[in-house]
Symmetry: C2
Subunit: 432 residues, 2 copies
């Protein structure tokens, strides 16, 4: 199966722009990139005309909770404790597997429509999330957040059992399209026995590890008071850090924490919109990058964003690194695109993903630049980060499969999902 | 001429939500809002089905420079002085009237497509801007920025003569749809003779006054050093402040400045994206509002944003008022919508504009909420500020005239504009 993007402008994801280029996709992999055409490739099943279009690497949303679309806009502009205790937790208690599945599908539809080709999720009802991702054709790294006190027993803990069962059932599905990682929810909802058990189970399997890290000032300070160590230091000692590990937020990481993240190869999933909206603060991302940390981007759940649009996340990431520090040259567009694509692929332990380059998986996004808001398009990286949003996406392709194109989902029945949300999930969650 | 939005959800702009309501537009004015239908209204020429749609006040972009679409993405991620001196100024020098007109049309197309019904512009080639706005059917307050030294003579100064001619030609066009205001560019590009002349000419005519104010720390500090007074204090003494006056940015306004703005009724046009992108800082908007200042929103020009999407501006405004101050409850969605609509109308001296209310001009925006990214839509103000963007707009109406609907511009020929940009403006501006 060959698909040719003909005479298209390309941003490769590593800073390069190729104008008026041919990109061939063969059996899910990028097989040719160049002004010329490949000498022999067999029959070309589809030619996509590239005039007025921009091809770019698909986006990696490395921190989200897909079933939380149920709570999009349900409770905003509230202090964090009221938001969680009065609104979020009570609804989450009413979630069942079917609700989680429907809401995950809403999120996946939103992500595919806005150019996201892969996501990392930490939540519960993970079997439904994996099943929804599997059916939709999107890539996903899925983990079950573990919590627990000093009496935590990994051999009996339900969450840990779920996590292992999830791994056994789904890890490696469709040639690694679905990956199962292990997860500690966060330092403040767990303790050493949890951390060590998760580290051990993950390490035994070579699985990744997901966790929330130093999101709010309060949680960070209480940790230091309690342990005389930062969450990063504690997790390091417990064996949770490493190349397959990825921390969400890191707003309150100290310089020493950044050094540890960099040294261990732990990725940092920056969620600027959620951090701003919940009043958590602004992660010091330019410094993180300087320290050598692999920084990627995530939207967080729809309840705290309230969008899963990675283009918007890129713009927030770029601007929040400049404005408050009076540094307009900080975090240029090329770096932000890399954060949203190839760095994300790295955090998910996906080799040969996240760039438009021969031999890489064909996870591609095409945007239409012939609209007023993207005219002119002087510098394509700038266009993508500062001018475009997810609604400019005309096609989202994962491993050579077109999953979204011009208003149509190829693997999802949006009307069915929408109707099922209002027929089943909404009454269950929001009516007493 | 009667148009009925039938069974539609409405956000009025002053905090209210009306579900499943009928909104009648008669001869450009909102004539009925209610569950019922008006008893007698004559023939209804068009019924717009409201299911799955949200009707809201049209948005007011109160600070922009429409011809600067030419420079969208031309030079990003640079220190402010290099950005201006090496990139922006040299291109602006090459602008001619035809370029300005084409680029203004690009901006107007982008604004109509994203729900903006009115804009305030301070630039040059204002005759072309006014002419483009007049033809497109959008509302606009247009001003010619004045600059000058101690030898400034208003009777001979070209810019001042242009400004007055502009006023005489365009002010009040189409029953006040186009308004001409007077403008001082900024404190740092002018001095007392300019300020006093502009104040006098504007006051004589009852015209509004536009100016940039305390945008960067450097400009603000140099002013205080030079005059022992802030720009706000100087402009106040020169008679530039008042109900029809509107200041852009105000990032470095002191508390005393805010009190002066509030007392005089001067509006503050908050441009969060531009302020972040250029590294100017973060305006203290929650404090401004507390001080009683009429705060409205603007995108600034496309060169420093690089988008004219007021939905995006709303989200940035809301979030930047929360995150850095750790105040998630600051600047809630209802207030942000008011900033982007009715407060903007006030800054433009437009009575009975900016709300969905009987007797108000029918400047309306309809968005489609049946898309994944806006599902569910628990709280419509939240949906608009935190989840939607300009590409969700399905219809933009100004004074009862549909100017944009489902991909089609009714008063603009987008393909012609685009072709003319690449045939005429691009070669002139960017090729030596």
């Amino acid at each position: 199966m060959n698909i040719l993007f003909k005479n298209i402008d390309v941003i490769t994801g590593d800073g390069e722009v190729l104008y008026n280029t041919n990109v061939m996709v063969s059996d899910g992999v990028i097989s040719h990139v160049g002004k010329d055409l490949p000498e022999s490739c067999g029959v070309i099943q589809r030619v996509v005309p590239g005039r007025g279009r921009l091809l770019m690497p698909g986006l990696y949303n490395t921190h989200t909770h897909v079933p939380m679309t149920a709570l999009r806009g349900y409770a905003d502009d509230l202090p964090l404790d009221r938001w969680l205790n009065e609104f979020i937790f009570p609804i989450e208690d009413k979630l069942d597997a079917r609700c989680a599945r429907i809401c995950a599908e809403i999120a996946i539809a939103e992500m595919l429509r806005s150019g996201t080709v892969s996501f990392s999720d930490q939540y519960f009802f993970c079997d439904e999330i994996a099943s929804a991702a599997a059916a939709a054709g999107i890539k996903a790294n899925i983990s079950r957040g573990t919590v627990g006190g000093e009496d935590f027993d990994p051999t009996t803990d339900t969450r840990m059992r779920e996590q292992i069962a999830l791994y056994d059932k789904w890890h490696g599905y469709d040639n690694g399209r679905i990956r199962i990682d292990f997860a500690v929810h966060a330092e403040y909802t767990s303790c050493r026995p949890v951390w060590e058990a998760v580290a051990r189970e993950a390490t035994d399997r070579g699985a990744g590890i997901s966790f929330h890290l130093s999101e709010t000032q309060g949680e960070n300070e209480r940790c230091i008071e309690k342990y005389d160590a930062t969450p990063t230091e504690l997790f390091y000692k417990a064996g949770l850090l490493g190349k397959g590990s990825y921390a969400a937020h890191g707003v309150w990481c100290k310089d020493e924490d950044m050094a540890i993240l960099a040294e261990t190869g732990t990725s940092l999933c920056h969620c600027p919109v959620s951090n701003l909206k919940l009043g958590s603060g602004v992660a010091r991302i330019a410094r993180m990058q300087k320290a050598g940390v692999n920084v990627c981007l995530g939207t967080d759940g729809a309840a705290s964003n309230n969008s899963l649009d990675m283009f918007e996340e890129m713009k927030f990431a770029a601007l929040i690194a400049k404005g408050p520090y009076h540094r307009p040259a900080s975090l240029p567009a090329e770096e932000v695109v890399a954060m949203a694509s190839v760095n994300g692929a790295k955090s998910q332990q996906r080799a040969n993903c996240g760039l438009v380059r021969v031999g890489y998986e064909a996870d591609l996004v095409m945007i239409n630049t012939r609209v007023p808001s993207l005219t002119p398009n002087h510098e394509p990286y700038s266009t993508v980060v500062y001018a475009a949003n997810g609604k400019d996406v005309e096609m989202t392709m994962v491993r050579g499969n077109v999953l979204y194109e011009k208003g149509e989902f190829k693997t999802l029945d949006w009307e069915r999902i929408r109707e099922e949300f209002f027929a089943y999930a909404a009454p269950r969650l929001f009516r007493d």
